[in-house]
Amino acid sequence: MAATRPDPMARYVLPLAGSGSAPSPPADEGARVHLPESLLVRNVTWFCRLRWLVVSLLAIFGGLDFAPGVLSRVGLRPPGAWPFVAAAALALSNLGFLAHARLMATAATPHRARANLWAQIVADLTVLTLVVHFIGSLETYVAFAYLFHIVLACIFFSRSWSLVVTAVACGLYLACVSAEETGLISRAGIYADAALRGQIDGLPGVRLLNVSWAILTWVVVWYLASHLSALVQERDTHLAETNRRLRAAQRERAQYMLRTTHELKAPFSAIHANVQLLIKGYCGELPPPAQDVLQRVAKRCRRLAAEIQEMLQLANLQSKIQGPLSWGDLDLAEALASCVEQARPVASGRGIEIETDIQPARTTAVGDHMRMLFGNLLSNALTYSMPGGRVRVACAPRPGAGPRVVIEDHGIGIQPEKLPRIFDAYYRTDEAVRHNRESTGLGLAIVRDVVEAHGIQLRVESAPSVGTVFTLEFPPTTAVPGQTRETRETDDGPRDDCGR
């Protein structure tokens, strides 16, 4: 009997690697490359602001008609009402464009933003043609004002659409000149001396040459501007794509790191818990040698778990693409005091006394990083102190400068020639290894990265068998280098962990 398949059978086809994020082909010259809608909307409003300036200039020019003698003194004739008509037409259209832009602020689409820009350009070119006619289409340079729109169209539209704008500008200008030439509309102009225009009127070849030069100039400008703009837009597109991929990689990396932390630490957690059951006698009494072995297993578990944690912390600190940091106003005294309290059980276990002279000292910093920094330096001081020794922790503000934090021990010290290497990841001096085999060698590497990120000056003074002093001098609050305060928060007090 033939076996019957369940119906319907679920089907899944494994996507080929990278098929979801194939690289975009480079934009061909002339290909339509779109700007992001947010940028388009911003430029819609920018155009509107510029237009208010033009409206004002036209109104002022029209107003000069009411100041007797001003225009005639510079050789111009009274303009009449046309500047006000042009200003009013631009102002009304501008209000419409702004209203449309406000609507787009809630639901912007490239199509709507581009339609708005097109409407602005058509309205502008129409009003500009009127202005060209009234100022003087041939005897002045006002016709070159069409170039503004041609260049802007090259920036915001594809090459083909910017060519359309250029053609519209040329067409309107030719229509204006033709209408004047054929007498369809009476000639105008702002020069008081009619002879200026009259000289050109008598020379049809000069008129034709002037018009041709103007149009040729626009076409050449269009060609150059649109070519350069296409190159820039292509680059923008590639940058946007690269940025998108980087962000996707960052998200993926964050998830991977989280999962890795869990996967690496979870087995140690199970081993640690079961070893403790044996050590604490939950499964019956064990002979002392077995207890000793289990203590070593438990100790190694704790060390490995801590090492994994520190490796991931260091990797995260060194990652330049991690998410925005939580910079905020912070009282170092609180963070430091919290870390000292955290360290006291370890200190008392080894008979080490922690002396504190901690004064309130505010700065701008990432709270988590400060606790990581102080926690690692304190841990270092306690680890390399002699039993029954003393560790001094001080914090104070400095007039005209950032706070100073000092962590001093009277432990094994460091030989001078080894000082430059102590901040290298995994570097440990022979003396340090002999004194304590359990340290990971990553604590001071974490300290180095935090210090660099905050622009803190770190000084180490040490002598073998005398001790080590770490001095942290924070920069003034306004001069923390190399960081963007992408998110700011007010520190809400210390947390219950200090980097270990």
Binding site: L258, T261, K265, K280, G323
Partner: protein, 139 residues
Amino acid sequence: MAHVMIVDDDEDFASAAATCLRAAGHEVQIELETSAALRSMTQRAPDLVILDVMFPESSSAGFDLARQMRGASAKLTAVPVLMLTAVNQRFPLGFSARDIDDEWLPVHDFLEKPVDIETLRGKVAAMLGAAGARPPGSR
């Protein structure tokens, strides 16, 4: 004696924690999947839930279960939740104790793995003693 439910996909850890808590006189139930845990606790609400964060099918299944418990029924809303995590509280990719939020993450406390079993025992005793005295999310 209290009814404690341990929800953790790591059977080795869950068994060790259960041994410790049983020795303290509690009745301990182990659930390796969050869906089975929710079904079980809907039938019989535990006095306390020890909940892992990450499960094989979802890295936030523990969070999801805590939220589901809050929305499931009044008796489950009142059950204190002790969340366990192998991700350090301060680790920037993880979360912190101050992220305990009534809406987002309705749990009472965190413990970071590897957990000291005596600490776990003490924390469970303290939470059971305080159960009902404070709403979820308060610290």
